[in-house]
Each structure stands twice: as C-alpha cells, then as structure tokens.
Symmetry: C2
Subunit: 417 residues, 2 copies
C-alpha cells in the first residue's frame, strides 16, 4: 500500500496482502505468516492487532462514518491525519505518554503503532475494581505538560498560529463534541437516551436557565479558545493501563481549546466510575471508591505542581514574560495563580457537563451501561447528574479537587431519586 | 500589471504606466491623463490618490517594512491579502461601512478602492474640534454587527473554522499589537518613549503586579480567543468622516479575537481625544469635551442595542441555540447578558491598555503628540494613564459607559502630576 492509493477499508482477510510491503510494519512484526484480529470497540474506527513471527503491532484505520450509528452518519477520513499530528506533538511534550508511531498513510487514513501489552482500557479496569500504580501522577503530568507546552506560555507564536491553522481543519470531529457534550444534554435532542426514572432530575437541569447559560458559555470557550492543543476526548476509554503503566491513546478529537478542557473531562470520568461502583463491587466497595477519589485528588495536585514547575522553568512564550515580573523584581506567582484560576473554572465546568452528557446524550459510559438493572442504575446516575450540576454552578469557586471529592462522598450516600 | 508579477513598490511617477491596464481602475477614473499624489500618513503603507478625467480612486500598496521605523523592521506584504479579505467581510456584515473595493492584486500587495471625499481622518477632526453627525450610531452598529456576524453566534461553524485557519496566517501584524499594546507599556521596552514628567505615574503602573496580571490576561485572551473577526486597529486614525458620514478603513491588523476588542480600542481613542482637548480648544472646550463623552456613551449604547437585536433576530450559530432557551419557554436574555458581561470586561480592559500604550510604547497619538509643550502634554497624558489603570482594574465591575465617562470627568479636573 502506497501513498496516493484510493481509500479502502481493511479487513482481517485483506490486511496481510495490503500491508505486507509497509516496511515499518514488517520491521515490528517480522515477515511471514501474520495473524490479524479486529478489536475496535470504539465508536469510529477499525483497530487490528497484527501478530507476526517477531512481534505485534496495531493497525488503526478510520472509517468514513460513525461506527456506533452506521453509514447514515458520515465522518471524514482526515481525522487520522489529525490523530497522527496530535500523537507526534503529545510524544514531544510528554515523552512516553502515547504509543510509538511506526507508520502513517494519509490516503488510507491508517496509523501503524505500538502494540501495548498487557495494557487494557482503563475503563474496564475501573469497572473490574483494579488499581493502577502511578496512574494519577502519570495523568496529572500528561495534562499539565501537554497544556503548558502546547500554549503560548511556551510555544513561539508563529509556530502556535501555524498549528491553530492546521488543526482548524478538523471540523466534523470537534463538532460531535460541540453538540453531544455541550448542548444535547439540555434539551430533547433526537439521539439522546437516558435510564427511565431520571426524568425528574433531567427536568431540573433543563429548567435551570442559569445552568444552561454556564454550559453554553463553556461551549463558547470551547469553540473560540485556542489556548492549547487538547486531546479532546480524554476519558478512561482513551487510556490503556497495566497494573503499573499507562498510556494515552485516540486523540482524534484533537483541537486547540481551553487549557482546562482535558483534565476536566478526565476528572468527570473518574467521578462516574466512582458513582457506578455500588453496582460493581462487594465488600471492597468503600476502599475502591476511596482509591478512585484519591486518584482524582492526586491528578489535580500533580497537575498544579507540574504546571507551576513548567511556569517557572519553561515560560518562553509571549505570555506573562519575565520582563514584566521577575526582571522587575516581582514574583510572577500571582500571574500563575490567575491562569490556574481560569483553568480550573473551565475544567470543573467541563467536568460537570461531561457527567451530564454521558448519562443523557448519545454516547453513554460502560461504567453505568454495564449495570443491567435500570432500577439500580438510575439512582447512581442521578447522584452523578446532581454533582455535575453543582460543579457547573460552582466552578468559579472551587479551590481544590478535595472539595469536589467531599461533595461526591455526600451524594454517594444520598438517595436523590 | 497582472497577477504573478514580482512585487515592486509604486511611485507617483511609475503608477500610471504600471496600472493603466487595470480595468477596474480605469473604469473609476477614466482613461487618459492621470494625476497621482502620495498621501500615506500611516505607519505601514503607500497610499496614492489617482485622479483621471472621470474621477478619483485610492491605490493602497503595502510596503515590505514598517514605514515608521524603516527597512530595519521588515513586515510581510501578505497583510494586503488579509486587509482585502477583512474588507469584503466587513462590507458583507455592515454594508456601506467600509470603502468599496475595485481591485486586488495579491502579488503587488495592492488594493484599488473608493476615494472617499470630502472625508478626512477622524483623529484630525477631533483635534480640530469638529463634530460628526451620526458618528456614534455608525460606530456602535459597525462594532456590534461585525462582532456578532463574525462569530459562532451567527456563522456556521465550518465557515468560521475555515476563516480562523485563513486569518491565522496573519502572524507578524498581530504580533505588533501583542508586543506594543499589551506588554511594552509595562516595562522599559527598547522602542518605548514617553513625555518627560510622567515617570512617577509610569513607576506606579509598572509596580502594580495585579494590573500587569490583568493586562497579560487580556493578552492571553487576545492571542487565544477566536470569538469573532476583529478589525484589530480601530482607532480614530482608522475612521474617515465628513460632517455627516463615516467609514472604517485599514483593517490590516485583522485577526480572530475577542468580541469586545474593537469597541474597547475605539473607546480608548475617544477618551484620549477627550483628555487632550484642553491643549487644543479655547472657549468651546467644555462643550466639545461633553460631545466626545456623549459619543462614547452613544457608541456603547448603540452597540448593546444592536447586539441584542441581532441576538434575537440572527442567532443562527451553534452557540446559545433556541433549543435550549426559547423552544423550552425560557427567555434567552440571561444568556445574552452573560455574553455581554464578558464582552464588556474584555472591552474595558483593552480600553485601559490602549490608553497606556499610546503614551508609553512606540506609536503615539497625534491627539497628544500635536501638543508641542511637554509641560502641557504630560499632565494631560497622566490623567489618561490613571484612568486607563482604573479601567483595567475595574473592568469586571463596570456596568455602563457612563461610569467611565464620569470617571473621565473627575480626572479631567484633577492635577495628578
């Protein structure tokens, strides 16, 4: 398969013949007999594990439609191009955080990358009650490093502007976020679904004009704020972990967006894991829920520590220059505080919105969806929805993740429906 | 002159032979004997008036360096390309507000446009104490219409994203704003200059860490907020007026930026005109100063009225959709209020910063510069600097332009140095 060929979706059967001359793939798996398995469980792509005499590799190929819905919802193949460029930037900004890329074919919308083993999707581990050592520190650093190093706190302005222009071409994928995440939860959108029993809670959310204004202000910032390159879909399904190692995958929702976007969405997914646990755990419920909240707290603390470290060591962009602070004998910490205040405001707002959309909009979470009995699922989702609303309303005033965790603990022992 | 030719700056002598085959120019001025006059008094371009048997036209050509400084400061010719695209969008969003474009030549960085007569630069009229009927309503509408109609309150997201990518190529010109406007006033930048006597006021500004943080937060929003297409340099030197008619010119600093940027910079320039008047007027001082403050108030009131009108009649973008408000029986006015609150916060911050940079950074205003005696100029500039600092500090809390005008009136009768 060479550049310039017409796109054609791979199958388990056609892959070996079509990719046998991709040197980077052969170098990974070895020439000869290949076993191919299709393992894509996401919503948008084909994912193959190719096993050969020397090893394994992942071949990820974009499909020209939303897999979850079918070919009635077309989606441009160019997202593989943006995913590729996102992965290279994330690898540079936080080395080791993403899979190694072996090969990219733009026309086939195809990326050959490192096979992670024995990594599994973090969401599955959270549902199974498994712990991952070092997870919070890894994720806090990843969010801080990609946020800071992708912004004009660090980047040269011409480089950053060229990147903004490049990623502005990724239109349809972020448009999914714009609609499904920020707007659909707050009205009866066509593709919405929710667990029966949640109607009174949903009515409260949709009747709260101030809440909807804040959610739309967050959308306004999402579509018109190019502070940094965000992963754009950083939930527990975009993280693969072993018991001691983690990587971030699937940045095809990449765009320039608010500094606090990724960590906000990430915390939401841990909070949903937390609220869903009573349906998944037995005797270890309380200890495992505490562990999840501990991850949230440590993610946020690590983020702050790393962000402040980068502020003091890598602030080479045009924003908050030393000429205005250190060079005049002034501490720049108040400036860093101001940036972080805005960042956390955005993060907790997005966190609350993500908690809503995963129960009310199109793409629900396995954390809740794997609970077969709606009568058990609904009250857990209701707690999650109400905390989400609190976070949107209070985002301006939250000063530490521990406040969020404390509020989660209270909802966790309250019957709200 | 045809596309594809190598750039060469025009002169009064070479223009007729080089442009005689530009049909759109000939259609305006007629074939035959042309008189050519160079009238560029700005910092960046050649501007010719071409007079022929049938009429006149303007030929504006970018120079490959900053005219104010010389060829030691190169500046890309592509800014004419962005000026051209900005003019076409402004003409569509507020018809009649900008000169009619007859011809654009990308390679020669050259625009042939309507000769406005008897229009003169508004700044000259303000220094001369002349009134312009309809000025405030025109400018308030222009700012509101270009802000609203260039944003995702109105535009389709793919169109807006394509435009963001296009204008992200305009790097060096906005970079001038980034440095000269937002940062240079607050430290001893190399190209700065100021009137002797202002040193104590300057020391107060540069010693105020909270003020510098707010100025840099405004820079952060300026470089990473693509809410709408802004003119980018909307001062009284970018407006041409007769006694009854006005147009906006020179949008080469165009970029996507905050909704409140243009109106903030505009108000700053009226406030500087106001503070400079004691050196320019006699008996009519008080009446003329009142007229200027009346313009500011009416610009802002017109802006609000027009913005709210567009909100209720042209809100076709993805932001604050009717599905979340009107369609659920909810008034969307609180959402519009929230947008305007953020917009005015940005506007008054930029206003204060612009008032600082025009007295402290590189490109000063004729309003003050035309005052030959520094002993007269300094105290007037000092009042302006102190109001600017107030606006930056209080931008979050200002609810009406009248508050700003009232504060200006108090400084106007106070000896601050």
């Amino acid at each position: 398969m060479t550049e310039g060929t017409v796109y054609e979706a791979l199958t388990v059967d056609t892959l070996p013949a079509r990719l046998e001359r991709v040197a980077a793939l052969v170098a990974q798996v070895g020439a000869g007999d290949w076993q191919v398995e299709e393992v894509g469980d996401g919503n948008l792509n084909l994912v193959f594990i190719v096993s050969g005499p020397r090893g394994k590799a992942i071949v990820k190929q974009a499909l020209p439609y939303v897999r979850l819905v079918g070919d009635s919802w077309p989606l441009p193949l160019y997202r593989a191009f943006y995913e590729y460029h996102a992965l290279t930037r994330q690898a540079a900004r936080d080395p080791g955080s993403v899979p190694v890329i072996h090969h990219f074919d733009k026309d086939q919308a195809l990326i050959v990358m490192e096979y992670l083993s024995p990594h599994v999707i973090l969401r599955r581990k959270l549902i199974a009650g498994e712990r991952v050592a070092g997870l919070a520190a890894f994720l806090g650093r990843f969010c801080a490093r990609t946020a800071f190093r992708g912004s004009e706190l660090s980047m040269a302005s011409p480089d950053k502007k060229a990147d903004v222009a490049l990623f502005a071409g990724n239109v349809e994928i972020p448009a999914i976020t714009e609609a499904l995440v920020f707007t659909d939860p707050y009205y009866a959108a066509e593709m919405n679904s929710h667990t029966p029993g949640l109607e009174p809670v949903i009515a409260r959310l949709r009747g709260d004009v101030a809440l909807k204004v804040k959610a739309q202000q967050a959308l306004q910032r999402f579509v018109s704020n190019t502070e940094t390159m965000v992963h754009g879909d950083l939930h527990s399904g975009s993280i693969m972990s072993t018991a001691v190692d983690s990587r971030v995958i699937d940045p095809e929702f990449v765009q320039y967006g608010p500094l606090g976007f990724d960590i906000g969405m990430l915390c939401a997914n841990f909070l949903m894991a937390y609220f869903s646990q009573p349906a998944h755990r037995g005797d270890d419920l309380s200890a495992y829920q505490d562990w999840i909240l501990g991850v949230i707290t440590e993610v946020c603390e690590t983020f702050e520590t790393e962000f402040r470290h980068l502020w003091s060591t890598e602030r080479t962009g045009i924003l908050y220059p030393a000429a205005l602070f250190e060079d005049q004998g002034h501490d720049s910490a108040p400036a860093c505080d101001a940036v972080l205040t805005g960042l956390w405001r955005d993060a907790w707002t997005v966190c609350g919105i993500e908690m809503h959309r995963r129960c009310l909009s199109l793409a629900h979470n396995a954390d809740f969806e794997d609970i077969p009995d709606p009568a058990i699922r609904a009250p857990l989702e209701a707690r999650n929805l109400l905390l989400g609303a609190d976070l949107i309303r209070l985002a301006d005033t939250i000063t530490a993740a521990e406040e969020v965790c404390e509020r989660a603990r209270r909802y966790n022992v309250t019957d709200v429906i």
